[in-house]
Amino acid sequence: MGIMDGLGEGFSVALDPTNILYVFLGVLIGTVIGVLPGLGPTATIALLLPITYELEPTSSVILLAGIYYGSMYGGTITSVLLRLPGEAASVVTVFDGHQMAMQGRAGPALGIAAVGSFIGGTLSVVGLILLAPPLADLAVQFGDPEYVALTAFGILLVTYLGTKHPVKALCMAALGLLLATIGRDLVTGTSRFTFDQVELFDGLDFVAVAMGLFGVGEILYNLEKTEKAEQIKSKVKNIWPSRRDFRDSSGAIARGSVLGFFLGVLPGGGGVISSLASYGMEKRRAKDPSRFGKGAIEGVAGPETANNASSTSAFVPLLTLGIPPNVVLALIYGALLIQGITPGPQLIDNNPEIFWGVIASMFIGNLMLLALNIPLVGFFVQLLRVRAGILAAFALLITMAGVFSVNNDVFDMWVVLVFGIIGWLMKKTGFEPGPLVLAFVLGAILEESFRRSMLLSGGEFSIFFTRPMSGTLFAVMALVVLYSSVMGIRRRRQRSQLPGVAEEELRATGLEAEPEGTAGVAATSGRTDGRADDDGVPGTGGGSTRAGGDRP
């Protein structure tokens, strides 16, 4: 199917009144939860997952995707106005966005963020259209060794890129891999770790685990925190940025779109890293870097564009390889599995209505967000008055009813509660659930592919290195490990002399937004920015180009 035919079909699906409604609901919910600190896109999508069971597959992905990129817009509002990032990908927006607001320029800050997000999102959809079908065609040829390489690479990058403590993240990834082994062994049919519990024969249900760790865990954690009720002082006026603002930020928007697109495709990437990388890049490129942190409009435009672009491009690996690059996409993967659709190279051919429908809905959704955000900023800010307790009770009820409805199994409700408590303890102790959940999803694919590779090769490990694709990927992996170790040692040496500026800023604000799941906010930004100061976003930017280059 050509691009034009595809888009034609896509728009006919997305313009169906029901689907327009779901796009609208998605971006609206996304904006709302983006505004509310504590309820990020991961938790929300985890909570709503079972409800999508009742929808058409296309509608459910349209809805969930809308929540994801919608939340990227919403998070900006509170970052700028209240110095309180609604979700993790908007943390860097605080530096310059809030400064702009203090200077009475909150309007242009929000305006440029909305425009940048729109451009970034739209360009990213175009990239998705151009890149996904050829990638899927190529991926049909992928065998098990390639999947071993891709999933191992994904787990590596998730633990390396998206976390504050790589060691803790590795522990969590290991735990996720271990949990993935529960249930029947695919090759021999033996039961593993089931303790003769019939409920465990098929392993733990991904939906229940994710809902527990992200949904219930977050709810419990947020209940502990005292509510930060702040008065909203100034009224926002003059949203539309001036001509000069546009001129100043056009470069940042263009760079942010490209950067965001590639970091979104990368496993372990996503909104948080993209926004941080873009901020670092703008600061490095600026003629006068000292303006940053004092209300530079590029510092708002770049990151906001990048996080939106990445939330769209993250769909590329899911829809072409069947491999979710970050936790939000892992949840959307789960939503498709519930519907009996296994995302993979054949998705575009077998379910063109999903692929093209979702793409078309993204065009519409981005347009809606632009229309929603600019006039309704004042309304969204009022949402912060909803009491956390009410929200939590409501969310918990939906969670429990929802998870039961997927398999009609009471056991899954216990799984949610147990993992909810585990998730809460993990948050308290600084372990992130992101690597665990992603390793849990990818671990199943990794193990099955590995076992099959061994069957096919008769036990020869050379199968992984003699095939061009998997060989290249393993080589890249070795480079990443080597590179990060070297950089780690260098950074440790320099740390005493060079504390990262952003690190101080963050500490001063005492910000703690809810991570997107892939990344811990506060310290990641410290780390990435610290690196940016060293020699310009090497870890993230460099990684992306390399991986991007390998993906044809």
């Binding site: 409800i51 992928f142 062994d185 019939v198 024969f201 296994t342 993979g344 190279p345 069957l455 008769g458």
Partner: protein, 329 residues
């Protein structure tokens, strides 16, 4: 979403309440005293041991809605996936034998699962009613395969045992066991490569990563056969399939006894179902399977031409058990 969020739990509560109520009524009023004289006089639960959306679900829902029309009582189809069918089957064998709890059964859920795991029931703990559908398996290769016929493939496997890779939908599946029997009983040794379901196997075969698949010929597979992407070499049925008249069976090729890799979807109740209830259900199922609407719903090719009744379903399960017990037991 606001609306959905508010109504979803409420609907669930109502649904749960209704089910609970139905269970009580079914146990007290419908069962026991009255026997099957005025059966059915209440809602019937029809369990599916697999998730919604697959061929088992489709078959059960099609038959369920026909039973509902014919019997004049509501039939509630309930998906209880999990435990390789053990969750739903446990629910079935523990239910009152009054005809108000029925389930889809397969050789997988009734024979394989209890042999491979400690699940607390055997294939004898149910009352068979009849066969709803029969989905055969086919041994198929990709369109660019060097094996033009089953003989080619068998020859290659005999010449170099273990070099031909054949995908199956899982280790403890009828297909996996069938290939093991091919090696044990007929000395044709292929490497069995288990996948998780049809979609993965299809991708692997189309991508040229395995040589052949032994796969349930459900509608996704027949579509690939029709388009020429899959070339069927052998059918698992006892006789040639009507819709694949040129494809030989394992028996024709000299592999006596390899007829168990297809899937039979049976209808059954708990052990001790009264005879008159069984015959009511058997007759209704028979007349349902004669209706064009039902045959089209399930897939014309999958509905047996001649109705296989309670006795035949019992035979199938027993035969499968006899063959599998020495392998798995």
């Amino acid at each position: 979403m606001g609306r959905t969020m508010r109504t979803a739990p409420a609907l669930l509560l109502v649904a749960v309440g209704a089910l609970a109520g139905c269970g009580n009524d079914g146990g007290g009023g419908g069962g026991g005293d009255n026997g099957g004289a005025n059966y059915p006089s209440d809602d019937i639960r029809l369990l599916v041991p697999y998730a919604a959306g697959g061929p088992t679900d489709l078959t059960t829902r099609t038959v369920g809605s026909c039973l509902e029309d014919e019997l004049g009582e509501t039939v509630v189809v309930e998906n209880l996936p999990g435990g390789s069918g053990a969750l739903a089957t446990s629910e079935l064998v523990q239910a009152e034998p009054d005809g108000y709890t029925l389930s889809l059964v397969t050789a997988g859920t009734m024979v394989l699962t209890p042999l491979a795991n400690e699940v607390g029931y055997t294939y004898e703990d149910i009352t068979p009613i009849g066969v709803m559908a029969d989905v055969p398996s086919v041994l198929a290769v990709g369109k660019d395969s060097p094996y033009a016929s089953a003989e080619d493939l068998v020859e290659a496997a005999e010449a170099a045992p273990g070099t031909v890779n054949v995908g199956v939908p899982g280790a403890s599946t009828p297909q996996g066991i069938e290939l093991q029997r091919l090696a044990d009983d007929h000395d044709v040794e292929v490497t069995v490569v288990p996948f998780d379901g049809n979609a993965e196997m299809t991708a692997a075969l189309l991508g040229g990563n395995i040589d052949a698949v032994l796969i349930n010929a459900s509608q996704d597979v027949t579509a690939n056969i029709d388009s020429g992407d899959f070339v069927p070499l052998v059918a698992s049925s006892e006789e040639r399939l009507e819709w694949l008249p040129d494809v030989p069976t394992f028996t024709e090729l000299g592999f006596e006894g390899l007829t168990l890799s297809g899937s039979t979807f049976g209808l059954a109740g708990p052990a001790g179902l009264p005879d008159d209830v069984v015959s009511t259900l058997e007759d209704t199922l028979r007349s349902c399977l004669e209706q064009d609407e039902v045959r089209e719903g399930i897939g014309e090719d999958y509905v047996p031409d001649e109705f296989a009744d309670a006795g035949e379903l019992a035979d199938i399960l027993e035969r499968t058990h006899e063959v599998y017990e020495p392998i798995l037991g």
